[in-house]
Symmetry: C2
Subunit: 360 residues, 2 copies
C-alpha cells in the first residue's frame, strides 16, 4: 500500500475537523482505472409490466405500494429496459461495465410456477445481452426461492451454460428469510458453483411492515436497510456460513448499516457465545464471507469507515442505476480521498475477483 | 483545537490500515477530565419485581420474553437497585457522575393507571438519590406515554420541583410511536422545560417483531437499533422538529445506526422533498436537535465517524451500566485517539450543557 504523506495528513485532518475533503485542491492526474459498477438494475418489458400490474391489485404490501406508482411508460421503466441508452451514458462517462441484475423484487412476488418461468426467461435474455456486449455487461442471475430445488437447478444452468457471473436475491420471499434450512439448497448451489449471491433490498416484509408504512419510509430512505439488515443478521447468526464456509454474500448500500454496528454485534455475540448457533464471530464471518458495495452512498466518511473496519478487499463500487444517476457516482469514486491502491480495488479489482470478470 | 502531529498521523494511519490504535504506546499523561456517564440504568425493587412478573405472564412480546429470563435475585437486579455498590465502582474507576434513568422498558408495559403511578414513585425515589449525592448522581425522569396529558404534568413536576435533569422514554408504547400527534404534548412540555428526552431502546414492537424473534436478536445484538432507529426516523420525518425547533432528543449506542445512513437519508429526502412532511433536511435536523451517546459501543472508528459527520458537540459518553461494565468503557474513552478538546466535550462538557449539570 502506498500512501503519500499529504494524503495521510488530509485524511487525518478531515477526521478531526469534519472539513470537506472534496474541497481540497484537485488531485494530480493519474492512470484511469477500469470502472465496473456492480448493482445495476435491469428488466424486460414483460417483467416491468408484471410488477406494475401487481401495483394495481391493491395488495396490502409495501413493495406493491411502491410499484403502484410506476407505469410501463415511465422514465424508470424505459431506463430499466433500454440497454442502448444505458450504453451511451456509460460510454460518455467512461464506465466500462455494468453488472446487470433483474430489478427488485425480481420474481419474488409471483406465484411459484410463474416465478420459476420468469426467472428462466429473464436469465436467457440477460445472457443474450452479456454475450452481445461482453466487454460492457456482466450479469447476475435470478432464481425463484419459492421453489428451492428448481432454484438450485436454474443456478447451475445460469453459471455452467449461460456463463453468468453470480446471483441476485431480493431479501425475503413470502415473508420468509433464507436462513430457514429449506432454502439451504440455494447456498449449497452457490458455493459449489463458486458464485456470489447479491442480497438486494426490497421493502420490509409484511411481518415488520407497519412502522415503515408512513412517510414513504419503506424504500431507500430507511426501510430497505432495515429489511436487508435483519436478513443479513439472520444469515450471520444461523450457521449458514459454518455449513457453507466458501459462500460469498454481497450487501449493497455500504453494507445496509451492518458494518457500523459490527463492534456491538460482536460484543453481544461473545456474551451469548455458549448458546449461539453460528460458531463464527460476526466480524470474522463478515470479513470472510461478505462484501459490500457503495451503491447509493456517495459519502466519503462512510467509505473510509468501511475500508478501515472491513478492508478495501471487501468493497466494490456500484451505482444503483437507474434508481441513482451514473455521473455523481463516477465523480464520487474518482475523487474520494482514499489511497490509489484502494481505489483500484473498489473500482474494479474486487468485482473481477468476486464475479469472475476477466481483467481488461 | 490542539492536535499534535503524532496524534494526527496515528489517526490517519489507522484509517488506512485498520491497525489497533489501542496498541499504540501509552499516551502522555494529561489533565484528568471529569467523567459523566449519561445512559446508566437504575431501578427500584418494586419496578424490577413488576418487570420480572411480566416476564412470567407468557405475554407474546419480545420485551416480556427478555424479562422472563431475569429474576429479582439476579446479579442484574441487584446492580440495578444497589446505589452503594455502584458508587464504590465509580469511585474506584474515577467516574464522577452517573446520569441515572429507570431501566427499560420503564413504565411502558403497564396499564395506564399503574404506569402513571409507577413513574411518579420512581421519579420521587430518583430525586432522593440525586439530592443525597448531588455530585455523584443526576437523573432522567420517567413518564407514562399511555397518558400524554398526565405525562406532561409529571414532566413539569420532575423539572420544576424535583430538579431532575431531563427525561427518558423507551421507544414504542403499546406499539405506537411518538410521532402521532396525540403524543405531542410530551414534546411541547420537554421543549418548554428546556429538558432533553433520551430515546432509549426496547425490543422491536409487536408490529415488527417476527423477523427479530430468533437467534436472541431482539436486544442489543440487533433488535434495539432497529426499534429505536425506525422511531427516530419517524420523528425526523414527521415534522415534530419543525413544530418544536428547540426540542432535544438523545440517541444511545452511537446513534442506533442513523448517523451511518444519514447521507442516504438526506439524498432520498431531497428527491421527495415536495411531498415531505418535515421541512428540514434530516442531517440539518439531526445536527440541531439530536445528540448521540457512546453507550455500549467501544469502537474507535465508529466514534471518529460520528465526530466527523455530526461534530464532537453532539456526542456524549455513556456506559449503559449494568448491562455493560464500567471499566472498559472508561478505558475506551480515556484512550481513544481523538483530540483532547473533543475528549473533554464527550466526557463531560456536552452532558453538562444538555442535562444542565453544574460544572465541577
Amino acid at each position: 500500500m502506498t500512501i503519500d504523506r499529504r494524503t495521510m495528513l488530509r485524511a487525518g485532518m478531515a477526521m478531526f475537523s469534519g472539513a470537506a475533503i472534496e474541497a481540497a485542491p484537485a488531485r494530480p492526474s493519474r492512470t484511469v482505472l477500469r470502472r465496473i459498477a456492480t448493482e445495476e438494475a435491469w428488466s424486460t418489458p414483460e417483467h416491468v409490466a408484471a410488477l406494475c400490474a401487481i401495483g394495481q391489485t391493491g395488495w396490502d404490501n409495501l413493495d406493491a405500494r411502491s410499484w403502484g406508482k410506476v407505469t410501463t411508460t415511465s422514465q424508470l421503466a424505459r431506463r430499466l429496459v433500454d440497454v442502448d441508452e444505458r450504453g451511451r451514458v456509460m460510454q460518455a462517462l467512461g464506465i466500462d461495465m455494468h453488472v446487470l441484475s433483474l430489478t427488485s423484487p425480481g420474481v419474488q412476488m409471483f406465484g411459484r410456477e410463474q416465478a420459476v418461468a420468469m426467472a428462466a426467461t429473464a436469465n436467457d435474455r440477460l445472457s443474450e445481452i452479456v454475450r452481445s456486449q461482453p466487454s460492457r455487461f456482466a450479469g447476475l442471475a435470478s432464481f425463484a426461492p419459492q421453489d428451492p430445488a428448481r432454484a438450485a437447478k436454474e443456478m447451475e444452468r445460469c453459471i455452467r451454460e449461460l456463463r453468468l457471473n453470480g446471483f441476485i436475491v431480493n431479501s425475503h420471499t413470502e415473508n420468509e428469510y433464507l436462513d430457514l434450512p429449506k432454502y439451504w439448497e440455494i447456498f449449497e448451489a452457490a458455493e459449489a458453483l463458486d458464485a456470489a449471491i447479491y442480497l438486494h433490498p426490497r421493502a420490509p416484509a409484511d411481518t415488520m411492515a407497519k412502522p415503515y408504512a408512513d412517510y414513504e419510509m419503506q424504500a431507500a430512505i430507511w426501510g430497505f436497510q432495515a429489511e436487508v439488515g435483519v436478513h443479513a443478521m439472520r444469515l450471520m447468526l444461523s450457521g449458514v456460513f459454518d455449513r457453507f464456509p466458501k459462500l460469498t454474500l454481497v450487501l449493497g448500500h455500504m453494507g445496509e448499516n451492518v458494518p457500523f454496528h459490527l463492534w456491538r454485534t460482536d460484543h453481544w455475540y461473545e456474551r451469548r457465545r455458549a448458546s449461539a448457533v453460528s460458531k463464527l464471530r460476526p466480524s470474522e464471518l463478515f470479513k470472510r464471507n461478505i462484501l459490500i458495495t457503495t451503491s447509493g452512498v456517495e459519502h466519503a466518511p462512510a467509505l473510509r469507515y468501511a475500508i478501515e473496519v472491513l478492508g478495501a478487499d471487501r468493497i466494490m463500487w456500484a451505482i444503483d442505476y437507474p434508481y441513482e444517476e451514473m455521473a455523481p457516482s463516477v465523480s464520487f469514486m474518482n475523487d474520494v480521498a482514499i489511497s490509489e491502491e484502494d481505489r483500484a480495488k473498489v473500482f474494479h479489482q474486487n468485482a473481477e475477483r468476486v464475479f469472475h470478470i476477466a481483467p481488461a
